[in-house]
Symmetry: C2
Subunit: 219 residues, 2 copies
């Protein structure tokens, strides 16, 4: 029997994070190409736009994601996630705490939490998070201040986790295979797709690899 966590795990297999450094139009265009290539979830992550720009883009992105059968998340801003009809919110360690978000959003709304250690992963799970974002897997120019824990660090952080996890940080077609056996059920990517000349082709390559690598991981 397949439980909710297993269903969610499958839908987190190739998770695009986009928005920062792009215009709303670029965000929608590149996301659509990546979704055509097989991306299973998209997160809008942007600090420099106004809330209204975020909301408008989130509403469009939610439609594109759902038309592709993909999940749609908003980073940090629970209010925008709810207003846009997103499937969930992703919360970093400096964002709203998971219990506060859960009280506002209720059950049925997906909450992801960044957790780079076993302690933080356990805390996120206890607090009611539905999935964990764990990294940085590799060095990345997208988020220069993220410290790299590598596939081994991810494996350690996820060793007791009973909710799905997505590996994040510098993942691309050249290194995704190194995540095999790290305990994650999917890979979050950003630059690998957004900086690609052909995001659709790269997404196809990544989802093929992800299908193989993560097929046995979650439970």
């Amino acid at each position: 029997m397949i439980n909710d966590s297993q269903k969610l795990a499958r839908r987190l297999k190739l998770y695009l994070i986009c928005g920062e450094g792009l215009t709303p139009e670029e965000t929608l265009r590149k996301s659509a190409l990546a979704l055509d290539g097989g991306v299973t979830a998209v997160q809008l992550r942007v600090k420099s736009w106004t809330a209204r720009e975020c909301l408008r883009t989130a509403e469009e992105l939610r439609k594109i994601c759902h038309a592709h059968g993909a999940l749609f998340f908003v980073n940090d801003r629970l209010d925008i996630a709810l207003a846009a009809g997103a499937d969930g919110v992703h919360l970093g360690q400096s964002d709203l705490p998971v219990p506060a978000a859960r009280r506002i959003a209720g059950s049925g709304f997906i909450i992801g939490a960044s957790s780079r250690t076993r302690e933080l992963a356990a805390e996120a799970q206890r607090a009611g998070a539905d999935y964990i974002g764990c990294g940085a897997a590799f060095g990345t120019s997208t988020k220069k201040d993220a410290s790299v824990i590598g596939p081994e660090g991810i494996k350690c952080a996820l060793s007791s986790a009973q909710i799905p996890a997505v590996a994040i940080g510098g993942i691309n077609a050249g290194n995704i295979a190194l995540l095999e056996g790290c305990g994650a059920c999917g890979a979050a990517v950003s630059g690998a797709l957004l900086n690609a000349r052909d995001p659709e082709a790269v997404a196809r390559k990544l989802i093929k690899e992800a299908d193989r690598i993560f097929s046995k991981t979650f439970i």
Copy 2:
């Protein structure tokens, strides 16, 4: 008989906006002094802190406000306002639209909307806003990009409004009297209190003036 708008109008008489450019500790300390002096509402407005810093400060500020019988608002971030137990949220023209916020927050939660023209004021009212923020009343160094419409511009913007309004922008003890008859029921201040050597004394002066100026305004 006094209706809800009249009750709200009285509680918006002297409205402190604070946070930006201050630390969380300074924000709490200066707000407490201003509340001791008679401020009737406080809005936490800050873009540069993390959501978690905002939430922690908002929770403290809400307690201090309520201990003084004052209202507490959060600017822009409806999620933080709800998580912190604030009385309401204030939304600018680049923030979430009022109807989207109302759907999430439900009734009984106060929503304020910045509206500098008669059209925007009418729109805010139709959309379900509980009060209007209208300005800039005077030139201000706190928000340099705000264009000044003056007490006459405020009077024009509020000429058809049937919900309470707060005048905002560069208001201090030296010019607050010029707002008499502009249609607002209160004054929002920032620098006048936050840059004062004795915020409590300045608040006392301002609330005395506000009592006189706004006593006849709303309905």
